[in-house]
């Protein structure tokens, strides 16, 4: 029963668990001023885990392991690498956080959450899926409310917990309906049962809707998005960055597998629902982002809108559509982590996070300003950054599937996006501080920020220029769905 394949399939998770345990044991022995090294340990450990997994844990033919609980394939593997990378970067950004950086628990929670996300990406059974989602979510509830001394952080944690608990209960009800009607929880067997057409139309709508409540909460689709701005604003900035990237991508990993593998039987009904949700999500996210004055809230609404763009690929329901979703998420994770990283680096020194406080930033630290420009232009979908290519692929998939109206909505939205992203850059480059003494108030970067932000900037540019390998991996991942 236990073959090397089984170990290979959960090799990254084993390594993450080992890393978390090491951290638990080592960290209490460190002195107070050494505690931030837990960030180096986490980031370095995750990096090594990624290399080991790439060397020994690569999937071959898609196989079901652990009695069908886990699907060992490229789709899951690619997402796992993305999550681990995002977590490593988040650990680096967390290191110099004043209130959370020197507490080992934060890093352990981060690792626990990644463990759950990794399992979300490969779960092939509804029971496993639910467990994975909860494993990923509960540490995040704690991380969002990590700074007990701050009311808004506590509020963020509590709000996230309440919304999350409610959403996952509703989703669980949806799962139980599926089980009740089909008698199986295995996603791949579900497909066969559902293809036989023994689910009436109202039931299929109900199942889709219930499941979407839970996953829509994870990826912050409108109308399940209300938590996002408040939670992002209140939680520690690196955690907000992690929530808006890895956690969202994990939701998409589940969406893709669930809808493409288990529910193709009633594709016409769910593509329609998803198309409507995608259009609403993009529009609401972008329109609300225009009037934001707090950078974290602006990024929260922008990340809502980006979930909408990525959905276009899902709606297309083709191999290119799936590949474009995966590609979009890869580009988006790099870009948004960069954006939150810049916000974190800036507010660490200044303690400020409204747009007005960014006035004169290009004189205070030209490099940080350039990195912010890279992130925001990529979010706006401008070349040569990852966001442009990702958007074109998603739109191409939409046009191919004849969803031209949805692509047009997407395009109108990206115009709105260009407006508010450039508007934010205006503060950075154009406006000056009231005293015009920017040179006397530099914004220095500590080493973890310099490393993390430089890596992310290079990544964003690489995805946007040399996109063939990234698309190749995304396509290989998408191939596993058909």
């Amino acid at each position: 029963m236990f073959t090397p394949l089984i170990f290979a399939s959960i090799l990254p998770e084993i390594l993450i668990l080992v890393l978390a345990l090491i951290l638990f044991v080592v960290e209490p022995f460190w002195k107070e001023d050494q505690r931030r090294n837990a960030g180096w340990l986490t980031a370095g450990g995750l990096f090594i885990a990624m290399i080991i997994s790439l060397l020994f844990g690569q999937p071959g033919e898609p196989t079901a392991v652990f009695g069908g609980m886990i699907r060992f394939d490229w789709l899951g593997f690619f997402f796992k690498m993305l999550f681990m990378f995002a977590a490593a970067v988040t650990a680096l950004l967390l290191m110099d956080h004043e209130k959370a950086g020197r507490r080992g628990e934060a890093y352990v929670m981060l690792l626990a959450s990644v463990l759950g996300m990794n399992l979300m990406a490969v779960a092939a059974d509804l029971v496993m899926l639910y467990l994975a989602i909860e494993t990923a979510s509960i540490p995040l509830y704690i991380l969002a409310g990590f700074i007990l001394a701050e009311d808004r952080s506590t509020e963020a944690g509590f709000k996230y917990l309440l919304f999350g608990a409610l959403a996952s209960t509703v989703m669980l009800y949806g799962f139980s309906l599926v089980f009740g009607f089909t008698g199986t929880t295995d996603l791949y067997k579900l497909a066969e049962t559902l293809a036989a057409g023994n689910l009436s139309l109202p039931i299929s709508f109900a199942v889709t809707a219930l499941v979407l409540v839970g996953l829509g909460f994870k990826v912050s689709l409108v109308p399940f998005h209300f938590w996002a701005p408040d939670v992002y604003e209140g939680s520690p900035t690196p955690v907000a960055g992690f929530l808006s990237t890895a956690s969202k991508a994990a939701g998409f990993a589940v969406l893709v597998r669930l809808f493409f593998v288990a529910f193709p039987g009633f594709a016409p009904s769910w593509t329609l629902i998803l198309a409507a949700l995608s259009a609403i999500t993009m529009t609401v996210g972008n329109l609300l982002a225009i009037s934001q004055t707090n950078v974290k809230r602006l990024l929260a609404y922008s990340s809502i809108a980006h979930a909408g763009y990525a959905m276009i690929g899902l709606v297309a329901f083709t191999q290119l559509g799936a590949a474009s979703v995966v590609f979009y998420l890869a580009a988006y994770i790099l870009t948004n982590l960069l954006a939150f990283g810049v916000v974190m680096a800036f507010s660490r020194v200044t303690g400020l996070e409204t747009l007005q406080d960014y006035a004169g930033m290009s004189r205070r630290n030209p490099w940080l300003a350039l990195m912010m420009l890279t992130a925001f232009l990529s979010l706006a979908g401008m070349p040569p950054f990852g966001g442009f290519v990702a958007k074109v692929f998603v739109f191409a998939a939409g046009v191919q599937a004849n969803y031209i109206w949805l692509v047009v909505v997407g395009i109108l939205n990206s115009i709105v996006g260009v407006y508010y992203y450039l508007n934010a850059m205006k503060y950075v480059y154009l406006y000056r501080m009231p005293q015009e003494d920017e040179e006397a108030r530099p914004v220095p970067l500590t080493r973890p920020y310099a490393i993390a932000l430089a890596a992310l900037t290079l990544g964003v540019i690489l995805v946007g220029t040399v996109f063939a390998p990234w698309f190749g991996w995304s396509d290989a991942a998408a191939l596993n769905l058909f």
Binding site: L320, S362, R363, P366, L370, L373, L377, A380, M382, P383, P384, F388, V392, F393, F395, A396, V399, Q400, I404, V407, V408, I411, S414, I415, V418, Y419, L422, N423, M425, K426, Y429, L430, F467, A468, F471, G472, D475
Partner: protein, 507 residues
Amino acid sequence: MNFPILSFITFLPFLAAVVMLLIPANRKTEVRGVALAAATIDLLLSGWMYLTYLLNHLTGYQFIETYDWLPALGISLKFGVDGMSAPLVLLTGIVMFTGVLISWGDYDEKIHLSAGIQDRPREFFAFLFLLAGGVFGVFVSLDLFMLFFFYEIAVFPMYLLIAIWGWVKTREYAAMKLTLYLFVGSVVALVGALAMYWTQYQNTGVLSFDMLLMENAGFSPVFQYIWFLPVFLGFAVLGGIWPFHNWSPDGHVAAPTAVSMFHAGVLMKLGAFAALRVGVMLLPEGAKQWSWLIMTFAAVAVVYGAYIAFVQPDLKYMIGFSSVSHMGLVMLGISTLNYNGLLGAGIQMFSHGVMTALFFAITGMIYDRSHTRQIPELGGMVKVMPFAAIGFIVGGLVSMGMPGFSGFVAEFPIFMGVWGSQWLVAVIASVSIIITAAYIMRNIRQVFFMPMPEALKEHHITDVTALDKVAIVTLCLFMIGIGLFPAVMVPMIETGVQNILRLLGGA
């Protein structure tokens, strides 16, 4: 010819931008040096490329380079120039070179002259070169995806360049307006391009963005009829076509001098060129169906732009609207879809690019010294800056279409072409020649030859710098050269026109 000259020309500005960003911010001279070196190399390379094409009597697409970029979706980095795009590559080289020269940013303590770019020149030149690289990329791309890629790269630096270094009063408004107009245009065209891509796949089973393959994609007349307008107008927004021209004069006025030069000199050609290459050449049936509409828009632009330019008291607005009028002539030439009209459009793109770059350069020099652009407040400039005066007059003569200058070589075939297509439109459009002559001569008289107003004498107005003179001479040489020896450009553009006519079915 193994040297990849086109990719060298295209990627050199990007490389230079990165190098400049790596130089510490306070080493301003080094930054300018890198900028000038890169611009000079690019000018020489594009000149060499141009001469090679011309002297060897080449036809069709030349200097072709192909690198597979994403074979799974048929995206390749395919570069090549034909008779239509080679002059525009040279034009970009010229404007880039002169733009760097006049932005050098000398600061003279004695007379408080601060011409050019003083504030953060490192970022300025880096963004300007990103823009230049994008422009080169569009002119040489034979792959539709890459064309869009470079097109967008050419759009967004404009926002930063105008918003950061522009004229304080209108820069935020103008920069955002310009960016939104151009972005809307390009994404509308993008949807059209994606539709073309998938339809080609349905028709021929070829999954490719290669425009040379798309020429044979067999798009149905209905498809062309539907998609021609979004694609053509989407690009033509950047070409300043009426009624979507509104961003252009505002952008010109708000932009710093070198950016105005790029904007009017090269970017507007980018729009016209892309509209021609993607709209007319890939959807020729659609072009025939809709040419009446394009012609109407263009005719309105020609006359209306000239009239607005006539009543403008602001020198930069005057040139901005004259650009709308002259680019209207380009569109008019394209809309005839006949030999003469297209030939004239091709020459006019080059001629207007050089001419308007010169106008904006000299306007910038005047403004840096007098701190006003209101025409009635200016005067007597010929005494202090005779060199600039001569340059402005040469530009004016080109603008009026005087024989012996490039403007005549360009405008004459356009009007011949329009006459052959719709004589009435030619008559209406020719009104603009009179209006143009009127406002150009009036302004030359006021700005250069009237006595200098008292208020202006306090400003310590000085002559232009040596670098400015190099820029003026370079630009004038090209305008006079083509005017006197049309053979250095016309045969080349003829080969480009033949290629377009082949696609139009010898119409």
